[in-house]
Symmetry: C2
Subunit: 213 residues, 2 copies
DNA sequence: GTCTATAGCTGGATAGAC
DNA sequence: GTCTATCCAGCTATAGAC
């Protein structure tokens, strides 16, 4: 028992040290870009030396993976917060606004999570899982708005992703595309709900597979 | 006279050598990614040595600039080809399809031209100019469809860019988002033309034919 | 202009003492 | 686990002979 608590304590210390290294990595990534920091920089920033970093991570890619996992968890939590609105339509709007805000509020996090910007790096399935789960919610919210065709889901990701991308690339920190989010979703809903009218009533029973024509 | 022709000849030879270096750079960029090739690789591929590269370009960034300039010129020419369709509406569709095809047919070219993926690199104004000119055409084509609000232009760039980006990231070489392009533009036109009906002096009908004159 | 040779630096990762 | 010291590979860029 004493043994197990000691071991748990050590494990907690270890996790804490890992997290402080990952935090330092995020600081550097935000200052100099996701790719432009070195393990030397990182060690200095974290107040340790390079070999010590290797006591906690096997490689630089392992650090990216930890960063990805942290970002994915943040994303899942951010999107899963309670929706204090009534109606599936308003819920969709809140979902999209949230997604937009999450992405634009931290460009490097967005790049690591949703762009494929680090050469040779692919997140492990464990790190990737929360992100997949959170993205699946979009399909559910759309389904509750009577939208279940695969093509319309793809259209939504393109539209929302396009708004985010333009905002980040061409007006970082501004609102030029942010203020178009609601209008874009109204446009989208008007189109898809007209197009899919009659195929599925409102919620619950929507068909989600095979609809392709 | 002999002197001037000789000098022009030499200049042509020099330009030719520059182009073959840039071509080799594109080959490598497409094989290993925009960032993952070195001047050594490039020299080997071009059949010369590293110092010889420096006889034609001052730095690696100068090579990126030449690549950017070439891509921008290709883009301008690709988009400026004659539009063998009648009506401003069809013209817009052709424009967008062309843009989509140009971007998705060469991912590295797209990344260099429209993403900001090379650290520390900004294209010179001369290299950038053709791209700006070609992009301005979108505004004109939209205006001929009765769409002139700034926000609606931004909405178009977000929508089109989003489709391109999703296609490249999530279904490279496929058609999953390509086949949504026309539908997306119909959705867009239905929204914007309704929204701007009456505001715009150029067009007030939803479906214009031959407004270009 | 083209080469050989190399400077000068930075990167990720390791050995081994403590 | 943490350090000092270092390895080794890669990079851009340059010097200087021809």
């Amino acid at each position: 028992m004493t043994k197990s608590t000691t071991s748990a304590w050590r494990e907690a210390r270890r996790q804490s040290a890992r997290e402080s290294i990952v935090d330092a990595a995020w600081d550097l990534a935000r200052e100099e870009g996701l790719l432009m920091w070195s393990l030397r920089d990182l060690a200095t920033r974290a107040g340790i030396t390079t070999p010590t970093v290797y006591a906690y991570f096997d490689s630089k890619h392992a650090i990216y993976d930890a960063m990805f996992g942290q970002a994915a968890t943040d994303f899942a939590e951010y999107m899963a917060r309670p929706y204090d609105v009534e109606g599936s339509r308003e819920q969709l709007f809140v979902y999209v606004r949230r997604f937009f805000d999450f992405c634009t509020s931290d460009v490097e996090r967005y790049q690591l999570l949703f762009q494929r910007t680090i050469p040779g790096f692919t997140p492990t399935p464990e790190a990737y899982a929360p992100s997949v789960r959170a993205l699946r919610t979009l399909g559910q919210v759309l389904a509750e708005n009577g939208i279940s065709e695969e093509g319309h889901l793809d259209l939504a990701t393109a539209l929302i992703g396009g708004l985010v991308s333009q905002q980040i690339s061409n007006d970082p920190g501004g609102v030029r595309w942010m203020r178009l989010v609601d209008e874009a979703m109204e446009m989208y809903l008007a189109h898809c709900q007209t197009s899919e009218a009659g195929h599925s009533p409102t919620s619950r029973s929507g068909r989600t597979t095979g609809a392709r024509g």
